[in-house]
């Protein structure tokens, strides 16, 4: 087995060359090659972390905007509700005032009309008494030849009162 032929000087030379060449590999790897890989990996990690951070910040911003929007909506709704309520209240108050006014005017008109009616009736009644008295007087004068005005008037008043009309 050539590997176990330890008298062969090439075997020892192989070990020496191995130490030199492996030392070279170790030096190049640890000084140039591996830091290079590490820097690329580090760069990628940093990039990913930065992107994740940016995404998180954007999400937080969006959440805040969403919350503000929701708050504004709620506020606007509340304002609108109160505006509607106050408008309704005002309108109701106005309507009530107007109907009261109308009622008052109508009542007044009714009262006036009643007064007018009463006046007209009184006038008519007055005329009736006069007409009745004169008629009675002339009747009495025709029948009795003469007429005493006072008893006739009293009799007509009695008769009118008996009919229930003042």
């Amino acid at each position: 087995m050539p590997q176990l032929d330890f008298d062969n000087p090439l075997l020892i030379a192989q070990v020496v060359w191995l130490l030199i060449i492996f030392g070279l590999l170790y030096y190049v790897l640890s000084t140039y090659a591996l830091p290079r890989v590490e820097s690329v990996l580090e760069e990628r990690r940093a990039r990913i972390a930065a992107d994740l951070g940016a995404a998180q910040a954007a999400k937080a911003e969006a959440d805040a905007a969403m919350a503000a929007h929701r708050e504004a909506t709620a506020k606007a709704r509340a304002e609108a509700q109160s505006a509607i309520a106050s408008a309704m209240q005002q309108a109701q108050a106005e309507a009530a005032a107007r109907s009261e006014e109308l009622n008052r005017r109508l009542a007044q008109q009714i009262q006036e009309a009643e007064q007018r009616i009463a006046a007209a009736r009184d006038a008519a009644m007055g005329a009736l008494r006069q007409v009745s008295t004169e008629t009675a007087e002339s009747l009495v004068a025709k029948l009795a030849g003469r007429a005493d005005r006072t008893p006739v008037t009293a009799a007509v008043d009695r008769a009118l009162a008996a009919r229930g009309q003042a």
């Binding site: 192989q14 170790y26 760069e43």
Partner: protein
């Protein structure tokens, strides 16, 4: 070489031959050293060229480089812990050197430097010296407590201490022989079956048909050897990290 004399010469492939003419011969620069240099060149090229673009989204070669890097880094991190960072370049160099040595050896006409016990033993001794120095630097004299676990009954000391010392000293031996034996066995098998193909192929009319059998075996063996190449590099690296863990944490 193998079939020239109609005999099976499975070990000739491990012979060291100086290259680069007289200069190479005078400094003992053999095809083995040349393959080591080639492996180093390929490893450095893979890492440097693979990371040349420094892409955020890696291409294929960069993905290979990065996954190798992260694989070994994970090995160090999981086995050694946070102290593993310091040893990462060494473990990475060791893993890649053994892996490329194993894989290069599978190419036709190539030489497998990991099939030489002096090479694997030198690598294992590097690991052994490293773990011993690290343990001594970090723990000083407490390191020797490693050979007698705390809580063991004192009367067992005459048994435990020699056993622990022997097991500690046998680490570089088992580490080197495992890799060496795997590589030698694989290449001897490949060579033997390859020789069968040639010998059987020369057996007149039926020869070529019978020769298909060892050829099939060889095809399967090459696939198996690729697995072994990765596996042995992995085993070498993980045992190194386990030993480093022991050196850093003392059990």
């Amino acid at each position: 070489m193998a079939a020239e004399g109609k005999t099976i010469d499975a070990l000739g492939q491990f012979e060291l031959v100086p290259v680069l003419g007289k200069v190479g011969a005078s400094v003992g620069f053999t095809q083995s050293s040349a393959h080591m240099l080639l492996a180093v060149g390929l490893i450095v090229a893979l890492v440097m060229y693979g990371m040349a673009k420094r892409a955020i989204v890696p291409g294929r070669l960069q993905a290979v480089t990065e996954s190798t890097y992260e694989f070994v880094q994970g090995l160090c991190q999981n086995q050694i812990g946070d102290e593993g960072k310091k040893f990462f370049p060494f473990v990475f160099a060791l893993f890649m050197f053994v892996l490329f040595g194993n894989l290069l050896g599978l190419l036709p006409f190539a030489f497998t430097f990991t099939s030489h016990i002096v090479v694997t033993f030198a690598l294992a001794m590097m690991v052994f010296v490293l773990i011993t120095v690290v343990a001594l630097v970090l723990h000083g004299r407490k390191f020797f407590g490693y050979f007698f676990p705390e809580g063991a009954p004192i009367w067992l000391a005459p048994i435990i201490i020699p056993v622990e010392i022997v097991s500690y000293l046998s680490r570089p031996i088992s580490l080197s022989i495992r890799l060496f034996a795997n590589m030698v066995a694989g290449h001897v098998m490949l060579k033997v079956f390859a020789t069968f193909i040639v010998l059987l192929g020369g057996l007149g009319a039926v020869g070529p048909f019978i020769a298909v059998l060892p050829l099939t075996v060889n095809v399967a063996l090459v696939g198996f050897e690729i697995l072994v190449a990765f596996l042995q590099a992995y085993v070498f690296a993980i045992l190194t990290t386990i030993y480093l863990h022991d050196a850093v944490h003392l059990h």
